[in-house]
Amino acid sequence: MIDAVSGLFARIGERGYFMRDIFRGLGDPATYGRETIRQMRNIGVDSLPLAAIVAAFIGAVTAIQTRYQLFGGVQLSVVGLISRQSIILELGPLLTGLVLTGRVGARMTAELGTMRVTEQIDALETLAYDPVAYLVVPRLIAAIVMLPILTILANTIGVVTAYFTAIMATDVTSAAFSEGLRLAFAPFQIVYSIIKATIFGAAIAFFCSYEGYTANAGAEGVGRSTAQAVVIASVAILVLDALTAILLAPYLQA
C-alpha cells in the first residue's frame, strides 16, 4: 500500500520535473522556433480534415436529436440555441481534443519513444542540445496554439452543418434556427471554448510527450507507452473538461 502511494507520488514528481524542463526549454526559442512551425503543420493543418468531418457529423446529429427531443409547443428556435450551446461549449472542444489525442498524441508518443529507444535523444544530449526544448516544447506550443484554432473551425463547421441539417431534414426554418443561434449569446462562450481547447492541447502534448520521452524496453515499450499515453491523455481531457465546467460555467450565462 505504502509502495503504491509512494509510487504514485513518484510518478507525479517525475512529471513535475518534466514540466520544469519544459519551462526551462521555453527560454531557448532558437532551439524550438523552427520546429514549432513544423509541428503546427502536423498537429493543426494536417488534422483539419479529420476534425472537420467529426464536427460536421456531430453538428448534424445534434440538430436532428435536438429537434426530435422537443415536446409539442416548444418554439423551434430552441434547436438553434441547443445546437450552438452543445457544439461550442462541449462537443466542439471535447471531441476535437479526443480525436487529436488519437491522431496527434499517439504519433507524438511513438515518435519520441522511438527516438528514446534508438538513443537519438541521448545523442542530442551528447551534442549539448536540450532535447526537451527541441522535441517537447515545439509540440507543446503547437498543440496549445493549434487546438484552439482547430476547435474554432470545428465549432463553425458543426454549427453550419447543424443549420443546414435542421432546415433541410427537419421542419425548423432558417429564420427560427438563426433566431435560436443568436438567443442568449455571450461572447464569453467562445472564449470558454477556446480556454478548454487550450487546456486540452496542453494536456495532450504534455502527457503524450512525457510517455514517449520516457519510453523504454524497445519496440514493445514504445507500443505500451503509446497506448498508455492515449488513455492518460483521454482521461485527463475528460477530467479537465469537468473541472473547467465547474470553474467557468457560472460565467457563461448570457
Binding site: 523552427r34 512551425i37 513544423r38 503546427m40 503543420r41 493543426g44 493543418v45 483539419l48 418554439q75 428556435s77 440555441l81 450552438r84 496554439v145 493549434m146 484552439p148 484554432i149 482547430l150 474554432i152 473551425l153 463553425t156 454549427v159 443561434l181 443568436r182 438567443l183 442568449a184 449569446f185 455571450a186 461572447p187 467562445i190 477556446i194 450565462q253 448570457a254
Partner: protein
C-alpha cells in the same frame, strides 16, 4: 517545404481568427454594421447585457452596446439601431424577456405610426415594464391556491362524500341502460322487419287492386264528377244571387221602405195591431159570454 508550412499554418490560424471574430459579431450583433446609437434610462434593467437584441415592433433592429449604472440609481443603456431602421417619434423602450431561457431584450414599442423618427443620439422614453418574475410567481401562486382549493373540493365531493362510488354506480346503471337499449333496439329491428314485410304485402295487394280497376269507368266517373261539380257551381251561383236578393229585401225591410218594411217599422201600425188584438180579445170574451148575441142559429 518550410516556407509552405509557414503559409499553411498562417492561413489556418488567420481563417480561424477571422471566423471567430465574425461569428461572434454576427451572434452578438447580427452583423458588422454598428448602426447609430440611442439611449434609454431604465429604473430596472432586469439583467440586460451587452449584445442582447433590440426589437422594434417585434423585429430585431439592433443590439445593446453598453449598460451603465449611473450614480443616481438609473441604468443608462446605450443601444445601436441599424442604419436602415428608423424609430418613430413617440416610441417607448421597455426591457422584456426574450424567450424562456432568461435572455433579455429592449423592446421599442411605437405608440402610433409616425413618419418622424427619433434622431440618432437621442434618448428614448421608457415605457411601462412588463410583469417581472416576482409578479409572475405571485400570479402562479394565486393560481396554485385556486387549483388547490378546487382539488380539495373535488376530493371532498368525489372521495370523502362517496362521489366516486356514485359515479361508479351511475356508470354501472348506464351500462345496464345501454344493454337494455340494445335489447330494445334489436326488438324494434324485429318489429320493423315484420312491418316492412306487411307493408310489402299491402303494396302488392294495392298493386293488384290497381291493376283490376277499369280505366274507362274511372274516366266516366270522373266526367260525372266534373259535371256534378259544374252543376254545383251553377247552383252555388244561383244561391248567391238569391242570397243577394234576400239581402236587399232584408235591407229594405230594415230601412222601413216598402210595404213590409213600413208595416214592420211603423209603430202606429204596431199599436193598431195591438189595439185590434185587444178588441179581438174583448170580442172573443164577449162572444164566449154572450154567444147568442153574435151567433144566432136557427134550424127551422
Amino acid at each position: 517545404m518550410k516556407k509552405r508550412d509557414d503559409v499553411l499554418v498562417g492561413l489556418v490560424i488567420a481563417v480561424a481568427v477571422i471566423v471567430a471574430i465574425l461569428g461572434s459579431l454576427w451572434l452578438a450583433r447580427g452583423g458588422l454594421s454598428k448602426g447609430y446609437p440611442l439611449y434609454a434610462k431604465f429604473p430596472w434593467s432586469a439583467g440586460l447585457k451587452q449584445g442582447q437584441p433590440v426589437l422594434l415592433a417585434g423585429v430585431n433592429v439592433g443590439y445593446v452596446d453598453d449598460v451603465e449604472l449611473r450614480p443616481n440609481g438609473t441604468v443608462l443603456t446605450t443601444f445601436r439601431v441599424g442604419k436602415q431602421f428608423h424609430v418613430p417619434q413617440g416610441t417607448t423602450a421597455t426591457v422584456v424577456a426574450n424567450g424562456i431561457f432568461g435572455d433579455m431584450a429592449i423592446a421599442l414599442i411605437p405608440k402610433t405610426p409616425n413618419a418622424q423618427s427619433i434622431p440618432p443620439g437621442d434618448t428614448v422614453p421608457v415605457g411601462p415594464s412588463g410583469p417581472g418574475i416576482a409578479q409572475l410567481t405571485a400570479k402562479a401562486d394565486s393560481v396554485a391556491t385556486s387549483v388547490n382549493a378546487i382539488t380539495t373540493a373535488l376530493q371532498k365531493e368525489l372521495v370523502t362524500s362517496g362521489g366516486v362510488a356514485d359515479l361508479r354506480k351511475t356508470l354501472a346503471s348506464t351500462n345496464q341502460l345501454t344493454l337494455n337499449m340494445n335489447r330494445l333496439v334489436s326488438q324494434f329491428s324485429v318489429i320493423a322487419a315484420e312491418q316492412n314485410r306487411q307493408l310489402s304485402l299491402t303494396q302488392a295487394s294495392l298493386r293488384r287492386a290497381t291493376s283490376g280497376v277499369d280505366s274507362a269507368k274511372v274516366d266516366s266517373t270522373v266526367k260525372n264528377f266534373r259535371e256534378a261539380s259544374a252543376n254545383m257551381a251553377a247552383l252555388s251561383a244561383d244561391l248567391r244571387q238569391t242570397s243577394l236578393k234576400l239581402d236587399s229585401i232584408v235591407a229594405k225591410v230594415s230601412d222601413g221602405s216598402g210595404t213590409i218594411g213600413k208595416a214592420l217599422n211603423d209603430p202606429g201600425a204596431y199599436n193598431d195591431i195591438r189595439g185590434l188584438i185587444q178588441h179581438m180579445d174583448s170580442l172573443m170574451v164577449d162572444i164566449k159570454k154572450n154567444p147568442k148575441r153574435y151567433i144566432n142559429i136557427k134550424v127551422f
